[in-house]
Amino acid sequence: MSKFNDKVILITGAAGGIGRATAKKLADQGAKLALVDLNLEAVSQVISELGLDESRAIALQANVAKEEEVKAYVDATVAKFGKIDGFFNNAGIEGITANVEDYPTETFELVFNVNVKGAFLGLKYVVPVMKKQGYGSIVNTSSGAGLIGSPGFVGYNSSKHAVMGMTKVVALEAAPHGVRVNAVAPGVINTRMMRQIEKNTVPEDAEGARKAFGAAVPLGRYGEAEEVASVAVFLLSDDASYVTQSIYTVDGGQINQ
């Protein structure tokens, strides 16, 4: 039994660790995929790795911070597959690690452009498609950093807090139309982003930073991209049919401390 047979799922940041793992789980369950990334080559590679032919998947290049490019990826998805059952609004960047007085304004703007404006634009163009259909499920990628503070991450943490607010507002607007909107909030996950954050945080000992981050997790380890993917897949599926505006932290318990 394939839960996503004939379902069309749109994923941004699809060449990144979590996006790719989610695409794989969905492909295994029969979904048709529209995979968006800034890096077209990388996202095309994901499709060939998954062994999906043209009838099952489309690779789309977009900078999610640019309105016309967002409109284009949504239009291309609808033109190709005729509908959007699920949207994993996942593209995001980490910025740099620096205290507020040293945080470059242009980095702050870049992080907000991708993480906040990018997520907003995705919602702005996908929600009307789903409202018209009368169904759909959206999962925004926020972060554990969207719920707490972490020193050195004023750009990233604030941007992920904004995604939480956006999730709740749009969930309420969309609910009467049968459209659900939730967020996943990953903690420390074994992906490129955490490798970069480890380097940014302790440039002289990234490995040491990695051990320290892992030790701070109650479950005592990093999460894997697949473990975030399984949560996103649950929220995208009809198994979560009464779940909306919920924040699912996937952080090995870290937020509870």
Binding site: A171, L172, A175, P176, L219, Y242, V250, G252, G253
Partner: protein, 245 residues
């Protein structure tokens, strides 16, 4: 292969409503289930119903506020099935009553079942899971553990307690591979909600309908199985959007 293939699941409040819907789903995913309830007639009938579907099921009558009876649940479970992998700590009570008229005995009774009982079941479950090297527990809290409402002070206080009990136990036993999360249902179409209130409560919910017990069961399955392997301490709202308002 089911998501709970060959797992043993204890479900309190297992004879009706969300507990029964979860038992059905768990069985369809390959689990053996222990149904715990105060209502022996319903519990036994449901046990027979599940057995007639070729499921392995056992009914145990127990009052979760009684330490000895809670210990007995797990003794029976180990005797019948040899282990405990999953506990859906779900039994609870609640009714609407103005606080200035609320007898202390009623306050005590509500908190006793909804918080103390949840602790006692969790404690006994953890004792077994420590021996086994891990397991998952799903407590039933409520969206009223997150927000307030008039006329349900005891229930709401107890459910708020369950949310922080869940966080605290999750942290305490994370390293022992025991994951503990909670379900926070909104207004669900079960016999607890009077027929005449259903339409109004649906109207208060952003999705404009009540939740179904089967929809809660799917969220419980998600928390009980490996799909949520990096989640612990969460209290997940499944409320049609109610608490975002």
């Amino acid at each position: 292969m089911g998501k709970l293939q060959n797992k043993v699941a204890v479900i309190t409040g297992g004879a009706s409503g969300i507990g029964a819907a979860t038992a059905k789903l768990f069985v369809s995913e390959g689990a053996k289930v222990v149904l715990v309830d105060l209502n022996e007639e319903k519990g036994k009938a449901f046990e027979s119903e599940l057995k007639s579907l070729n499921a392995e099921a056992l009914f145990v009558k127990a009052n979760i506020t009684n330490e000895e009876e809670v210990a007995h649940i797990f003794k029976q479970t180990i005797e019948a099935f040899g282990k405990v992998d999953v506990v859906f700590n779900n039994a609870g009570i609640g009714r609407v009553h103005s606080s200035h008229d609320l007898a202390y005995s009623e306050w005590r009774n509500t908190v006793n079942v909804d918080l103390d009982g949840v602790f006692l079941v969790a404690r006994e479950a953890i004792r077994e899971m420590l021996k086994a090297g891990g397991g998952t527990i799903v407590n039933t809290a409520s969206m009223y553990g997150w927000v307030g409402s008039p006329g349900s002070a005891a229930y709401n206080a107890a459910k708020g307690g369950v949310i922080n009990l869940t966080r605290s136990l999750a942290l305490e036993y994370a390293e022992q591979n025991i994951r503990i999360n909670a379900l926070c249902p909104g207004f669900i179409d079960t016999p607890i909600i009077p027929e005449e209130s259903k339409q109004a409560l649906a109207g208060l919910t952003p999705m404009k309908r009540l939740g179904q017990a089967e929809e809660m069961a799917k969220a419980v399955l998600f928390m009980a199985c490996d799909d949520s392997s990096f989640m612990t301490g969460n209290s997940l709202t499944v409320d049609g959007g109610y608490t975002a308002q």
